[in-house]
């Protein structure tokens, strides 16, 4: 394994790991606050139990997210020192703001977790709301920085160096609104569906406790609306990619030839050497329609992109299709949820609906991982699109595969531990109707 590949692998691994915790840190506080709010309104102790459990889950996942985020902020330099030297002054701004948002989140999480008996009811709810709001805001800032790498702006390039730096313009790059919207919705949809799926599974297994029914309702409340809105934001994002990153769009859709009436190819295996997609199912006109909202529009194909600037086609195309498939399924379940809610049907009574929610549990996270694969691999060979190649940004230090190996071991170990810990939390959840652990057992 070359140093470059090892560095890319380590970065991918760190991001793939961190994103899960970051996403839960955005959405789970919302569920925790909703549960506490209902407890304060109704006095039903099941809601208090839920709020405390979700708070504990948030604490574990936030802690891992915080340290994996710390690692990432160093890794930007450890792995890509040239990139940071180039980009630090241009996109450091959103990172600084993210630092503050993250700080606020950490402070109020401390108040929330340990303050049940120390602060007033109003102050406690406020602390929870601050955790939720600043969590979402940190995500917005980090995604803004990533968007700049896709559609770099806010500087002039003179002899390979950036001059006339405009950090505010860099934050408002073309990709920023689309990426921010898409990722924020993804966080709520993925976490909501994952939590809903776990409780739907336990209800199907015969645990009918109010605890699980309430949990399912709140999780769907957070997840379903986001899942329904997500295809719309996805369409907006695709239109942005079509205009600003034609090579990425061509790789996503496996479009080899620039053409009008461009089709969407579902699945299949893009063969770069033959310049065609094997076994795919084409939908005529669909890509022109999707990208430019006009069936006659011309869409740039890979033949307009120099061969040495093609991303890895099978990885990008198939990741994209998996993401879309997951998102579509979740949107349908989201609509089903809305329909049941409108008819005031108890979610827990429909076996088929519960099964559909269980199947949806992992899909949001699969969609997030494959979606980021599209964003990041689809930008290659560039680290800053059209400006700096990833190969030119990597650290000059030899022996990267060894360090990557050590990090891989640490991440695998942590992943196992987090899984075990969280499943212990879930296994110990209430068994029967009316049973719940005495409140006050919070962290």
């Amino acid at each position: 394994m070359s140093d470059l590949l090892a560095a890319r692998f380590q970065m991918a691994m760190s991001l793939a790991f961190h994103i899960i915790f970051a996403v839960v840190g955005i959405a789970m506080p919302v569920m925790m606050v909703v549960a506490e709010h209902r407890w304060r309104r109704t006095g039903d102790p099941v809601y208090l139990d839920l709020a405390k459990r979700w708070a504990r889950g948030t604490a574990i996942l936030f802690a891992v997210g915080a340290v994996s985020g710390t690692v990432l902020s160093f890794e930007l330099g450890l792995l890509w020192p040239t990139f940071m030297r180039f980009a630090g002054a241009i996109i450091g701004m959103p990172f600084s703001l993210e630092g503050f948002a993250f700080f606020t989140e950490a402070i109020f999480l401390g108040v929330y977790l340990y303050g049940w008996e120390r602060v007033s009811a109003r102050a406690h709810l406020f602390a929870g709301a601050m955790v939720a709001a600043s969590g979402a805001l940190s995500g917005v800032f980090v995604v803004t920085a990533n968007a700049w790498m896709n559609t770099p702006t806010g500087f002039d390039l003179v002899n390979g160096a950036p001059v006339n730096v405009r950090p505010v313009a860099a934050m408002l790059s073309a990709a920023a609104p689309a990426q921010v919207l898409h990722m924020t919705l993804a966080a709520y949809a993925a976490t909501g569906f994952a939590v809903a799926g776990i409780h739907a599974f336990l209800i199907l297994r015969g645990r009918r406790a109010a605890f699980h029914r309430h949990a399912l309702t709140i999780a769907l409340l957070v997840g379903a609306p986001a899942a329904v809105l997500q295809p719309i934001s996805g369409d907006y994002a695709a239109a942005m990619v079509a205009r600003h990153q034609p090579a990425k769009l061509a790789a996503m859709e496996s479009l080899f030839h620039t053409q009008r009436h461009a089709p969407i190819v579902l699945g299949g295996w893009p063969d770069a050497s033959q310049r065609r997609t094997r076994f795919g199912v084409p939908l005529p006109y669909a890509l022109s329609l999707l990208a430019f909202h006009d069936p006659n529009a011309t869409v740039t194909g890979l033949d307009s992109v120099p061969r040495d600037q093609w991303p890895n086609l099978p990885a990008v195309h198939l990741s994209f299709d998996v993401m879309v498939a997951c998102g579509t399924y979740m949107a349908i379940v989201g609509l089903w949820t809305a329909w049941l809610a409108r008819r005031r049907t108890d979610f827990a009574r429909s076996q088929r609906f519960l099964l559909a929610v269980v199947i949806g549990a992992p899909l949001g996270f699969i969609a997030i991982e494959t979606g980021w694969t599209v964003t990041e691999l689809g930008r290659q060979p560039w680290i800053i699109y059209g400006v700096l190649r990833t190969a030119d940004a990597v650290t000059p230090m030899p022996g990267q595969p060894w360090r990557t190996g050590v990090f891989a071991l640490v991440y695998v170990f942590l992943a196992i531990v987090v899984t075990v810990l969280l499943s212990r939390q879930i296994v110990r959840s209430p068994m029967h109707t009316g049973e719940f652990r005495t409140p006050g057992g919070g962290a």
């Binding site: 604490a59 574990i60 936030f62 802690a63 891992v64 915080a66 340290v67 994996s68 710390t70 690692v71 902020s73 160093f74 930007l76 330099g77 450890l78 020192p81 040239t82 940071m84 030297r85 980009a87 630090g88 002054a89 450091g92 701004m93 990172f95 600084s96 703001l97 630092g99 503050f100 993250f102 700080f103 606020t104 950490a106 402070i107 999480l109 401390g110 108040v111 340990y114 303050g115 120390r118 602060v119 730096v165 405009r166 950090p167 505010v168 650290t395 000059p396 230090m397 022996g399 360090r403 050590v406 990090f407 640490v410 942590l414 531990v417 810990l421 212990r424 939390q425 110990r428 962290a443």
Partner: protein, 343 residues
Amino acid sequence: MSAATVLAGTLVVALNAYVLLGGADFGGGVWDLLARGPRAESQRQLVAQAIGPVWEANHVWLILAIVLLFTCFPAAFARIVVPLNLPLTGMLIGIVLRGSAFAFRGYGGDRDAVQRRWGRVFAMASLVTPLLLGTTLGAVASGAVGGVATAAPGDFAARYLAPWLAPFPLSVGVFTLACFAFLAATYLTLETTDGPLRDDFRRRALASGVAVGAAALAGLLAAGPAAPLMRHGLLGSGWALPFQLATGVVALTALGALVWRRYALARRCAVLQVSLVLWGWAWSQYPYVVPPDLTIEAAAAPTVTLRLVLAALVLGALVLVPSLFYLFRVFKGSDRRSAVSHQ
């Protein structure tokens, strides 16, 4: 004063906060590892209780410092991380294991074997991380990081080991660890009303306070041959000697206060002492970010970036300062005696 200098100062403020708050958390881990005697379990519990609510906030200071470094001084960041890759990587692994071990132990569930095992990981990582943090700071201060550009490109040892695997940086690592343990023990004397438990930490504070002095002396001796720039900064210039004397007086007062059980005074002196050391280091290498040649002005980002970051700092402080004040008032305020009984 230029925007770059103000931001460099802010960077030191963030580092200072990290050392005083996050550092004490590391020190707490050290005392968790060294918990002995009939009250070993109570000692561990006190450490966990004291750290719990403020843990996450304390560790964001490091993120803030690193973000300020790469936004405002990207050239310095790029220059530091390459030769110090190995100790930084080790430090990161320590941070990951420590942060997760703490959370797993705290929220993982019952007090059982699993939890004790996480306690071990937490404590071991608390030992290694400050050592490596101090070593990287020492390596920058010594000028070895800045001087690495002259080494032959193929010479791995000269480029990636020599800058930090040397007596001076390593002695700064030991010094950092001793400081963190000292801060933690001093703080912990004020975290309990239980007489014998408090006395346990008083003795630990005294022992680590003496260790801080010994490590400082070792560092000065090591600075002689290895870091002439540092030695000159610490001892040579006009303001340096009074400054060092003041630090020494504060250090002795802290120890005296501990001997006479004046805990609040001891804590104030410990905070002041460690802060003085940090600012002494910062002043001694001024105007360089990466000695011997990269100055604050040369490493700085364009003025527009610096101004925006300054504006963000002011805005951020408007949110952060009241929030932090609130956090510490709720959990470290004077009414905490009654509150502890809830846990």
